[in-house]
């Protein structure tokens, strides 16, 4: 109960903070609409501002918005008049798919190479992994995305460069799934690279520590196979910090999705947020940020629950991890 109250308070704080930030950003939607029209009159600007309540005092605007959100109404886009709720839900699936695929890829590959590296920390392979991971982490997503596009999509011409379906695609569910998968690979890899680096570094460090610990020595002394030692005794414990990061990074994945979705024209909420910001389309941007904050809070809760799966000694009661 206390957690839910906390979460609600947090969400309210997020709304107020975001609203204020958007409000203090120079220019408003009326400027953008006038700019898009490439000419406008002051009367028209005033009319646009009045229409969307942009000329009300800040407190009134904020009050109206919070009031609407409490009633479950996220408002309408100033840009094209579409309902924010439907805009977000139309695109949520695409982003969720992208974020999950990217994180899954990063987690599986990252933990695998991290573990391999941890077993022989001074080997050439281990060093190579460390270097590659750092390069992957340091490379901005829009850059690695474009490189992938140029080399894999254009030169090799195997992957499509944009969207989540071929233009004018028609086919049964299976072909549709294949087509979607083909479109998903590059953006998911691009987004995944950012996290891959962190997971491999983290799991390497964590496994190094675990493999040195007493209980692993005991397990080895018991005569258990190396496989059993590494996977059953080592990895279970070594994974805990990685899972923590995975949970925390759900929010980061969303913000990373902004760039990746823009580069690959992936129809998700990251692109929606990006467009909305450039258009100063406050209702849409606030809607996406609100959703993001809810996702982060839920992801945190799920992370706590996952600890329990990995290590049953941890209880999600507030006692242990308070």
């Amino acid at each position: 109960m206390a957690r839910i109250a906390q979460a609600l308070g947090l969400i309210l704080a997020v709304i107020v903070l975001n609203f204020t930030l958007i409000h203090v950003a120079p220019g408003d939607a009326a400027d953008v609409i006038a700019g898009d029209q490439s000419a406008s009159s002051p009367e028209e600007l005033a009319e646009i501002r009045a229409r969307y309540g942009l000329d009300d005092p800040f407190v009134v605007q904020l009050g109206n918005y919070v009031g609407d959100v409490v009633q479950g109404d996220l408002g309408e886009s100033i840009w094209d008049g579409q309902s924010v709720t439907s805009l977000i839900f139309d695109r949520l699936g695409a982003t969720a798919l992208l974020a999950f695929s990217a994180l899954a890829f990063a987690f599986v590959v990252g933990v695998s190479i991290g573990t391999i590296a941890a077993r022989k920390p001074t080997s050439l392979l281990s060093q190579l992994i460390t270097v590659l991971a750092l390069v992957g982490f340091a490379m901005p997503a829009f850059w690695s995305g474009l490189l992938l596009l140029i080399f894999v999509a254009v030169k090799v011409d195997f992957f499509p460069v944009s969207g989540n379906h071929d233009l004018g695609f028609e086919g049964n569910w299976f072909e549709s799934l294949l087509d979607l998968g083909q479109h998903l690979i590059l953006p998911a890899l691009t987004l995944g690279f950012i996290f891959l680096a962190q997971y491999s570094r983290l799991s390497r460090a964590s496994m190094l520590e675990v493999l040195e610990s007493d209980y692993v020595r005991t397990a080895r002394a018991k005569g258990l196979s190396e496989r059993s030692v590494v996977f059953k005794h080592g990895l279970r414990n070594g994974l805990i910090p990685v899972v923590t990061i995975l949970g925390l990074q759900f929010g980061t994945a969303l913000s990373g999705a902004i760039l990746v979705e823009t580069v690959f024209a992936w129809p998700g909420i990251g692109r929606l947020a990006f467009d909305a910001l450039l258009r100063r389309d406050a209702p849409v941007l606030l809607g996406v940020l609100l959703l993001a904050s809810v996702v982060v809070i839920v992801a945190n809760l799920l992370t706590d629950l996952t600890y329990r799966l990995i290590d049953p000694r941890i209880r999600v009661t507030g006692g242990v991890n308070a």
């Binding site: 704080a13 120079p26 029209q37 760039l259 823009t262």
Partner: protein, 580 residues
């Protein structure tokens, strides 16, 4: 503890949003402003193009309206015989501009006009010589006193829901535009539109208004169905302005509408020009990043894209899988220029403005920043227009000594500082200007702003000294040129972007512009614009850098592409695909 962490996470998330957007703002706003036409060439090729154009333009015209009075007879058979071979196919097009809706009677801009001209028809088309041609109006007439314009409509024209298009719809469209369109100048003098004969629209004007013909171009006056829109709802927010159920009058109808993804158009079988359109389908893929469009063309996903940046254009020119043509969009008349804020202390002095113009190497800017893909344009009227005065006093030469002498003559020999707001996309130009002006002791402080709205707020609000932008002519100077010079169009802060942002006022210029706006006599108009351009250039409120070339880049299979004066903002009913 937990709570603090969550808060930190959220803050970090927000910050990430803000930073990322700021980092990418530059490239994107460039598209909003220039719609991808940022670097291009017209240069010396322009006249040659004009000559070349005439041939295809003629047969295009011949093939189109079978019952057209201005048609030449033999063309008809030809159109009938090769029509079957040409018809069919799906054209894919990558579009970088974001659109709000499809109703061009209440919304200007490239983003609405490109898809809008496919789904809506206008009364007139325009040929390569800026002369009107029949479209929805079979013929037209301007009365001798210039106060009445009569449009004779086709009798077989239908909206996409099967309802006939009548003069009532034309009247409704004109009056809707007059009340709502941001280009007030287009139909301001319209007093009434008589629609007593369903096939004749008689437009009464309070004064002769030559720009009204150009204002009936495809991108500027779509004819919209009165029976759908005239229900008392606010036209700017009308739910039928967009969507799968959009009812238009043009060659293609909307079958799928998702403004952030894709707009799919299908051939309208009952289009009023028999045998057209030739394409079965157009897929307009909305892509947020210009690079995605470029890579998509290269990858084979698209048949055609909007004019990309100079570097990409060069790359496509070297690749024989694509056709690159420096043609189309001339009427848009994009001019790259620098606004000088005449309200700021130093720049209120005319000599200082002239000195700045002389110290900037315009040719160097065209060669270096625009990779030679831009032509000299020494007035606010684009250089292919009959009203362009190439001989007006101008500063399109590098003369730092002259500039220094001018500054010394008004006691500014010690130099001064200028504030220059610039988005990331404007930086190359800003740095070029900064370097040129340092030679005469003028320090340009480049103020980097994150995105278009921030820049627009600064410029519209008058809190700048010098800034780089692109302004469009939009066909007739009355529509797109007057706004930058009219005294009346100086708008108090917060102001309006692309109004008279230099805060320039010269009563004599205003009188000349008014004269040019109120006569159908082209010679009189030309004389007035020539003189106005001369006076404006003596006052030097704007530094004209050049007119970028717009390119068409496409696969060779695309035949008869839209390379007219309105480019993509004209119906693609004659476009066809070779080998379909």
């Amino acid at each position: 503890m937990k709570r603090m962490q969550s808060l930190q996470k959220l803050l970090a998330l927000l910050l990430a949003f803000a930073l990322l957007a700021a980092a990418c703002g530059g490239s994107d706003d460039d598209d909003g402003v220039a719609a991808g036409g940022d670097d291009t060439d017209q240069a010396d090729e322009a006249p040659a193009d004009g000559a070349e154009d005439e041939a295809p333009a003629d047969d295009a015209e011949d093939e189109a309206p079978a019952d057209d009075a201005e048609d030449e007879a033999p063309a008809d058979d030809e159109a009938m015989t090769d029509e079957d071979e040409r018809a069919g196919g799906t054209l894919t097009f990558a579009f970088v501009s974001a659109l709000r809706h499809l109703n061009g009677t209440v919304q200007s801009g490239y983003a609405t006009a490109v898809p809008g001209t496919q789904v809506n028809a206008s009364p007139l088309l325009f040929d390569e010589n800026y002369q009107p041609q029949p479209y929805l109006a079979e013929s037209w007439d301007v009365s001798d006193d210039g106060l009445t314009v009569t449009l004779n409509l086709r009798d077989n024209a239908l909206f996409h829901d099967g309802v006939p298009i009548t003069s009532e719809d034309v009247a409704f469209s004109i009056l809707t535009s007059q009340a709502n369109h941001p280009f007030k100048a287009m139909f301001a003098p319209v007093v009434s539109v008589d629609s007593s004969d369903p096939l004749v629209a008689v437009i009464s004007l309070s004064e002769p208004h030559p720009a009204i013909l150009m204002a009936m171009s495809p991108g500027l006056l779509p004819i919209i169905p009165k029976h759908i829109f005239d229900d008392g709802q606010d036209m700017k927010e009308h739910p039928r302005n967009s969507g799968d159920d959009f009812i238009g009058s043009g060659p293609f109808r909307v079958v799928e509408y998702d403004p952030s993804e894709v707009i799919r158009l299908e051939k309208f079988d009952d289009f009023f020009l028999e045998g057209y359109p030739l394409l079965d389908e157009i897929i307009i893929d909305i892509v947020p990043d210009p690079n995605t469009a470029i890579l998509g063309l290269e990858n084979g996903d698209y048949d055609m894209i909007t004019s990309p940046n100079a570097a990409a254009t060069q790359q496509f020119e070297e690749d024989d899988r694509f056709v690159v043509e420096a043609k189309g969009h001339e009427a848009i008349g994009q001019i790259d220029w620098l606004f000088l804020n005449t309200r700021s202390d130093v720049l209120s002095t005319v000599e200082a403005r002239q000195a700045i113009s002389l110290a900037i190497d315009q040719q160097g800017w065209r060669d270096i920043v625009q990779l030679g893909r831009s032509s000299a344009n020494v007035t606010g009227i684009q250089n292919a227009s009959p009203f362009y005065n190439a001989d007006a006093t101008n500063y399109d030469r590098l003369a730092p000594d002259e500039a220094t002498a001018l500054l010394e003559s008004v006691g500014l020999g010690d130099g001064f500082e200028l504030d220059m707001p610039a988005t990331a996309a404007m930086l190359p130009t800003a740095e070029f200007i900064q370097q040129d002006l340092s030679a005469i002791g003028v320090t340009v402080n480049i103020r980097q702003v994150p995105d278009f709205p921030t820049w627009a707020a600064a410029v519209a609000g008058g809190t700048y000294d010098i800034t780089y932008t692109q302004v469009w002519n939009w066909g007739d100077p009355v529509i797109g040129v007057h706004r930058s010079y009219d005294c009346e169009n100086r708008i108090e802060p917060p102001g309006v972007i692309w109004s008279n942002n230099a805060w320039y006022c010269n009563e004599e210029v205003d009188a000349l512009l008014d004269t040019a706006a109120a006569t159908f006599d082209n010679d009189a108009r030309q004389a007035a614009y020539f003189e106005a351009s001369e006076l404006i250039n003596q006052d030097a409120p704007i530094v004209y850098l050049g007119k970028p070339d717009w390119y068409q880049i496409r696969k060779p299979r695309v035949q008869n592409p839209p390379t007219g004066i309105w480019g993509f903002m004209s119906p693609w009913h004659e476009v066809w695909l070779d080998g379909e």
